[in-house]
Amino acid sequence: MYVAVKGGEKAIKSSIELLEQKRKHISSNQDINISQLIEQLSFAVDRVVSEGSLYDKNLSALSIKQAQGDLVEAIFILRAYRTTLERFSYSVPIDTSSMTLKRRISATYKDIPGGQILGPTFDYTHRLLDFSLLNGKETSNKKNNPTSNDNVFFPRVMEFLNNEGLMEKEIEKLKSRPFDITREPMKFPASRDQWLQILSRSDEGFLLGLSYSAIRGFGSKGTHPFVGEIRYGFVEVKIYPEELGFEICVGEIEVSECEMVDQFEGSKKIAPQFTRGYGLTFGYNERKAMSISIIDRALKSEEYGEEIKFPIQDQEFVLYHSDNVEAQGFVSHLKLPHYVDFQGELNLIRELRKKILKENKDD
């Protein structure tokens, strides 16, 4: 008699123990601490903050450590924690035009009021392995003069085009409460507040590939976006308690923002003008902010009466598939046992083959 294998419980326990052992720092004998991660792997920490959609660098670093560097797993851990947090207030919209800038560039003008600020960027590093980092390099404690000019107002580059009437007007203010992707099920046709929120916590790789596809050729014709302005820096978060009657600052967050200029030929109703794409993310995630701004513009295709031909223009395609917590979950669920369904398929294939082989024989 056959006895079915049991012991799922034991297997799970062992698997979790093995995973824990894998983390053990046998050869280095050094435990990474959270502040090391925040300082030395800041881009990883920022990515997890952005896609985990929880602005807490400590917890982001903790989740990276816990996930042993698997960023998609870390994002998932942070997201699952986020969902249990109570919401105690709504902030007023952040004002990025008065942010403390660490970086600000425009590709559409040689010079801009306030100037171009290169800031920290990989752009002009030569991508040569720096072997001096191999065995630990003494880091200088010399404080770099911040490039930013605190509390100076930097006009937005896009506003110059706007004032000349060449630029599509930005929505001034939402009439109703903004869509809340963390509370409401997806709705179609999607509204811009809905898709910008989704894109802001979407998988960076998915957004990058999608935006690349559009500028390479799988996007509406003539698409060559121009970077109107990229900003990265700190911005204050304020709330407005009704009982106080004035705004109070509750903290500061680091954000990356990109405004992209695109063409529009005009239609019967609208004269030719530039159109805009907008992207905002938590942390220093410039590549992602740029990708979002390209996708934002493409998702407006329907509004402009442009033909929907490519994946990037298709709201359902983009918004249903860009979240890596959802995507990784569903792809990885294929690892679960499916033997009951597979049994059904086995029976069917055998049956169909029997029938076909019999028919062939009869012929």
């Binding site: 008699m1 056959y2 799922g8 986020r82 963390t182 409401e184 179609f188 569903f330 669920h333």
Partner: protein, 276 residues
């Protein structure tokens, strides 16, 4: 609060929202009710919809059974059961009859369920028309106007090409003679059990954020044609453990030569059968 978690993990506001959704879902049998699904500490696709439904209905007096592929001891079933043990401190059981709530993936127990039980299905893709029409905006309209020709044509094409409908699991049903409904990826063998089932059937799709329901004593018909009536799977073999010839069987390869044995997929049914 139990060990830093609210009872059943979800906060009360979320439970309330899900409870309202469940009630509407029961009032509109087979209709996919959107809800503001939350991230769970288990991966999407691994039963988060079912977990949210169970978490919203479960109370301290409930006894929970969790199965995957019909078995109580498959890894994910155990993982989900442990999750509820941790966050609810409730009784769990493998005994189908003793359970008040049964959360399942891919099977309906062989034992007939009763009025005081609730069957919670984990659903990966709640939309039965999705493979025929990828856009949600379109499938919503098809359901709203009962435009189901697409599905009938698809099934008919299969019959004319293969001689029979080739769907072996997630075989679409018509609930209460109105909505075409996805029974979740249970084998079609289980479809007849859904018809006029005495237990309430609740379906949770976490990633797709949908809940739907089939009340007790509700008509659930597998789609078919008069000249090609719906049929369930059958086996020439019997269960190698309990000898059953009327339960759903899993095929097991027992040696390098590829020799096979067949055993019941419903492990609790098999055990009980062996005892009697």
């Amino acid at each position: 609060m139990i060990d830093g978690f609210n009872f059943a993990y979800l906060d009360e506001a979320t439970k309330r929202m899900i409870r309202r959704t469940i009630l509407k879902a029961i009032c509109i049998p087979g209709y996919q009710c959107p809800f503001g699904g939350r991230e769970m500490p288990l991966a999407y696709g691994w039963g988060t919809g079912g977990i949210q439904v169970t978490a919203s209905i479960i109370g301290i007096n409930d006894t929970l059974k969790v199965i995957d592929q019909g078995a109580d001891d498959t890894t994910n079933a155990i993982s989900i059961k442990n999750f509820f043990k941790k966050v609810c401190k409730i009784e769990t059981t493998e005994d189908t009859e003793k359970a008040t709530i049964i959360q399942t993936r891919h099977r309906i127990p062989e034992k007939k369920l009763s009025e005081n039980q609730i069957l919670v299905y984990q659903v990966p893709q709640p939309e039965p028309l999705r493979r025929l029409e990828p856009k949600e905006q379109e499938t919503r309209k098809l359901h709203a106007y009962e435009e189901y020709a697409l599905m009938h044509v698809k099934l008919y094409e299969e019959i004319s090409h293969f001689g029979s409908v080739i769907k072996t699991y997630a075989y679409p049903v018509r609930t209460n003679k109105r909505y075409i409904t996805d029974p979740s990826p249970t084998p079609k063998f289980d479809n007849p059990k859904m018809d006029f089932m005495e237990a309430l059937q609740l379906f949770g799709a976490g990633r797709e954020r949908r809940i739907y329901a089939i009340p007790p004593y509700t008509s659930v018909q597998s789609l078919d044609f008069e000249d090609h009536p719906f049929q369930i799977q059958t086996w020439d073999e019997r269960c190698d453990i309990c000898g059953s010839n009327n339960s759903y069987l899993d095929e097991i390869i027992i040696n390098d030569k590829g020799e096979k044995k067949f055993i019941c997929s419903d492990t609790n049914y098999c055990e009980k059968n062996l005892k009697t």
